[in-house]
Amino acid sequence: MGTNQIHVTTPDGLDRQGNPIKISGAIYIRVLFSSKFYPVSDYIIYCEEAGRLKMVMKVYGPVRAACPQRVLACLLEKGVDFEVVHVDLDSGEHKRPDFLLRHPFGQVPVVEDGDFRLFESRAIMRYIAAKYEEQGPNLLGKSLEERAVVDQWLEVEAHNFNELVFAMVMQLVILPRMGERGDLALVDACERKLEKVLDVYEQRLSKSRYLAGDSFTLADLSHLPAIRYLMNEAGMRHLVVQRKSVNAWWEDISSRAAWKKVMELAS
């Protein structure tokens, strides 16, 4: 999908994507494979005949980066339309003044839902899961107790798991890509700590199909991008495949249609 293309639903209910073009000072969307023209202003797409308004959620970030992938997976699970606006991390686009207006810490992703802007991928996930609670799978948990257990494992991902994986990917993948040497002693130390953390996951997943219980939730989804990086670019497959329940869980969650779609977008 090109970065300028916009998703629309035509009045006759068809999903189309098209490029914005200017005609006599006004901006229109020309829908692909159709001769119809739909007027658009600031990505509010409307059709003169139907007079309907439709806004699409914008996700700023490269589709290959882990944190945007967390948000994309959530949007796809819930069947929510979105548009990706590519941000070029290699050229430092995320640290430039105009991007800092969107995200004061200069990171991706940022999401814009109409004029409501958010950052921090886990807060965005929670927002999407709550806003679209009625459609797609329930990613939050039903009762207050279930939600608390989902929160608990989201916190585990954020505080016990992610920091270690991020450190390893930084030393093994990102720094070498930038022509610098990774600290292999640090990788080793992180790997040993991660082994202990994954032992706890193994214990948990031997008793529970998913981290928070019987159903797939945000707690599982949140792990997808980092585990993929860990197993592929970081070359740490063994950490997952050597643990029976963790491996079975990974096979299950990574074969979900929404995650496969994220992989397609990223390829």
């Binding site: 810490f105 409501f116 950052f119 921090e120 929160d151 608990q152 989201l154 214990q203």
Partner: protein
């Protein structure tokens, strides 16, 4: 009604976070001490409460939870009508609160907790503070606090006009750092300084500190 139990020590930053929420909500609870010096947090009995062997762990009848920020959120929602309002019933306001809770967890805490370790916990374990590490961490935390300074010129508290979990989660690290040379990071930023003074003066927080005596 079952007694709420918090397992931990009033010196642990994570346990203090949960204690702050319990006091703000004016809830009766029992603090079950965990002797970390003796390694009690790695005992079988404790691992049954938190398989990661970390404090705090929390019990509300049959519900067992760990991770301080999951505990505070549970308390805030379950007892929404009691004590201080720590979350918002309005979905958009709750989302913004959620953003700034993530900021505390991912932008602030990584540097702040390492600074606490260098200044405070290392001394408790008979180790020496490394000034080079302190300087590096202060540089990183300073950049985060620059964003906080900009944020707090627009709103009195992290997520808006009212005190909430996004502010509360900062309290333990702020408390420890205020007693160190890193205090200057907060004092030199007027809105951050005022915010720190405001939230650390809350009566519920004083109750948490009193437990350390």
């Amino acid at each position: 009604m079952a007694v709420l139990k918090l397992h931990g020590t009033p010196f642990s930053t994570a346990a203090m976070r949960a204690l702050a929420a319990l006091y703000e909500k004016e809830l009766d609870f029992e603090l079950v001490p965990v002797d970390m010096k003796a390694g009690q947090h790695k005992s079988e009995a404790f691992l049954a409460l938190n398989p990661f062997g970390q404090v705090p762990a929390f019990e509300d009848g049959d519900l067992k939870l760990f991770e301080s920020r999951a505990i505070t959120q549970y308390i805030a929602h379950e007892h929404a009508s009691k004590g201080t309002q720590l979350v918002s019933p309005d979905p958009k306001k709750m989302t913004i609160l959620s953003v700034w809770m993530e900021v505390e967890a991912h932008q602030f805490d990584p540097h702040a907790s390492k600074l606490c370790f260098e200044h405070v916990f290392k001394k408790m374990f008979g180790m020496t503070t490394d000034p080079a590490v302190v300087e590096e961490l202060e540089g990183k935390l300073g950049k985060v606090l620059d964003v906080y300074e900009a944020r707090l010129t627009q709103s009195k508290y992290m997520s808006g006009a009212c005190f909430g979990l996004a502010d509360l989660h900062h309290l333990p690290a702020l408390h420890y750092l205020q007693g160190t040379s890193s205090k200057k990071l907060f004092d030199s930023r007027p809105h951050v300084c005022a915010w720190v003074a405001d939230i650390t003066a809350r009566p519920a927080w004083a109750k948490v500190i009193a437990l350390q005596k």
